[in-house]
Amino acid sequence: MSSPDRLVYMANQIGTFFRSQGHDKAVPGIADHIKKFWDPRMKRAIFAHLDAGGAGLEPNVREALTSLKQSLPAAS
């Protein structure tokens, strides 16, 4: 598994867990999980993938990453 694919896979896996909690809880849940457990280079890579169209990301995950990216200082 090459890097963006693997990260997309991992992000979607997180999304799958939160799916049953409904959209309104899932989106912040996913964002918080990635914020807390992913190292900066992983976050940078997934944000770059998001900017490049975010192929393969589940809708909740895409939304969570978009909001996470906005909330984080540009440096990280």
């Binding site: 598994m1 890097s3 693997r6 991992m10 896996q13 997180i14 799958t16 867990f17 799916r19 049953s20 909690q21 999980h33 807390k36 457990f37 992913w38 190292d39 900066p40 280079r41 992983m42 990280s76």
Partner: protein
Amino acid sequence: MSLIEEIDYGTPRSKSETMVTLTIDGNQVTVPEGTSIMRAAMDAGHQIPKLCATDMVDAFGSCRLCVVEIEGRAGTPASCTTPAMNGLVVHTQSERLKKLRKGVMELYISDHPLDCLTCGANGDCELQDMAGAVGLRDVRYGYEGENHVFAKSNGKINAAWMPKDESNPYFTYDPSKCIVCSRCVRACEEVQGTFALTISGRGFDSRVSPGMSESFLGSECVSCGACVQACPTATLTEKSVIEIGQPEHSVVTTCAYCGVGCAFKAEMRGEEVVRMVPYKDGKANRGHSCVKGRFAWGYTNHKERILNPMIRERIEDPWREVSWDEAFSFAAEKMRGIQKKYGRDAIGGITSSRCTNEETYLVQKLIRAGFGNNNVDTCARVCHSPTGYGLSQTFGTSAGTQDFDSVEDTDVAVIIGANPASAHPVFASRLKKRLRQGAKLIVIDPRRTEMVESPHVKALHLPLMPGTNVAVVTALAHVIVTEGLANEAFIRERCDWSEFEEWAAFVAQPKHSPEATAILTGIDPKDLREAARIYATGGNGAIYYGLGVTEHSQGSTTVIAIANLAMVTGNIGRPGVGVNPLRGQNNVQGSCDMGSFPHELPGYRHISGEAVRDQFEALWNVKLNPEPGLRIPNMFDAAIEGTFMGIYVQGEDILQSDPNTKHVVAALSAMECVIVHDLFLNETANYAHVFLPGSSFLEKDGTFTNAERRIQRVRKVMTPKNGMADWEVTIALAKAMGFEMNYNHPSEIMDEIAALTPTFTGVSYAKLDELGSVQWPCNEKAPEGTPVMHMDGFVRGKGKFIVTEYVATDERTGPRFPLLLTTGRILSQYNVGAQTRRTENVVWHAEDRLEIHPHDAEQRGVREGDWVRLTSRAGETTLRAEITDRVSPGVVYTTFHHPDTQANVITTDYSDWATNCPEYKVTAVQISPSNGPSDWQKSYDEQARHSRRIAPAEAAE
């Protein structure tokens, strides 16, 4: 220092709270009701002679040496079987008693060899002691009569004599010295629960018989050592005692194998270990042990142990032995060079769950403060990281809720994805003891483990398909909720009610019923419903689980589902219940507590918390990085990508223990500096540039924290053979990298941990010396520690129910890979086998075997013992087949103790969604007959041999 003598009270302690008072030899003694007169006398300091009694087993009353006189009662009752009662007046010595005892001893000695001077038990023989105690001066019967002592009697072969059984590698059985007291038989039954021993024959023909008069090695004996400990003579003796002689001093320390954390007395002669004897005051093991801790410590002085630091520029080069200083400056230069070239975050390290808390703490400190990043992880990543995540989300702490004593109050035990009989044997023995008293057992496991059926134990077994844990546990919840078995009072008081309602509505959906999920799980809905009812209504229900829960794509989800189950039934917050993760390694709990995870500082506090960081920054005098670092699998990915180039690995063999070996090889090969700090040239070291020799648990001071959060001392009994304890090595490496840490003794490290960690503020070496051990949290609120957590409410406030949707793993069976492989352990071997393979334990398990169901074997033309090729999407290996119905059709099973098997060549990259804990327990595979090792195994073996070369030392000029 002297030999620690533990008092043998003769019979077990009574738990009664009613007290009785009696008079023994003129002294008033008050003891709990149910205490024997023998024990009451010992309490008063009067030792009644005894042979067949010992306080690890129930009274038996066979030797007749412990007779006493009781005023108003006829005869001379045995004090071991006679309970103390109010008002009794007991005399332990009288003319009549003296005569009786002398007569008994005379008979014993008339059939016992008189080779005391050359006997292995000389100086530690209760028979000898008792002969002395009763004043035996001659044996009127002589020694020529019928006996078990001499091979020949009156020139003829003596049929009653039996030769020594030396089949067990660690102890001998000499029948000629046996007095048939049955202590060994009872220890095997009552303490260990294996029932391997019996007394065959009657009267003079009585013999201790392993199995059906087999050898010890050939019998069901699991070599736990309980019989050897119980034996009052030289009949069962450690071979090391026979070889070396009696120990002269002993030190209490903690076993370095599994997460049970047994306390042992290291019995020494100088700096040589004579034997390890389980310590009765050890609160985890209560005087019991298993074959690993009791006997398998020979690896500590195995010839393959590396004692000198070594370096090399390229992994193709042979190793070069160098001074410590040269090794440190070489390593420091490389690591700092990488940071210069690739950035501060391009290096990291792995703390060891085998090392002490203090050592683990130092490694994470070196990484966070010295390397300046948070790229620190530990092997808990690949075992119990989902436990940490799941329990902190639901309960608020990342640890088990009980102590092991709690099992004595359990009425229903549920074991999920664990095989304590193999992996946590001393806990298994304690559980089986409770089961024999009538507690019920439910086992949820793909395989019919040793726990499912053992003497006097029959579990309700739910043999699920690997990968369906969440479906099964959610179905249990479905039954409890829909059948009205939820403990509403508990939930209303302790948990968030609206979250509960949401969760209850979720699990109550028909799609979660046992009937609807049976097609996935393979479990008979009737059995599943019965299990749910038993757990919910059978009294104190306790869940014990292992890596069969965590090592899945949905590992964290299953932990959450288990926590839900405990909450919905109110099985939390008192003795006998709880959620109990059985930790794999000795210090997995401790390594997690000590801040080994990349996202949290010691005490499970997230690195992004400013207040917490401030505290550490002030004490460490550095600025900390607020961003979480890489986890082990992320490190490998980053290495292949070229952004993670150097690693310091303390006491873990990531190449053998992590999944998808080829991926790990690629990652390690990509790195520019791999520092391995270990006892042996392990598999990871084949890809290392620096080797720092490690020290064994016998060679250093520190603490381990076991699965019940119990912090116990590890005490140094010998000088480190490599010259430096591991904590000293880390300090020196840090210094070479320009980061100073100053400690003179591990106790100072613990003081720092206590100063920085709210759950450890009350912990100090002084307190551990005083109390023996404490369970965290240990602070102002709980100065003596916390045996049971969440007593008056959950740590997080309200217990949190979280919905757990079953999601099938992406690792699926199909036409190419139709079988599911799952993995586990065997009793005699431990983890990757680095230690146990270097002991005599190999007599029990010399290679990993593939268990396969007869149907699957027949379809493929595989016979017992055949070589088979095991193929998955990740790779292939070969090993020999064992045909058994312990596994269901469609499921195969193996252990991962031997590097030449390379079970992890087969396992995949899939991992837990929350923690990246690898999915070891489910791999789709195919089996086919084979002629021998695969190409990969051959080339791996060649590389390993090439890589382990050590260049001959250059002659000094």
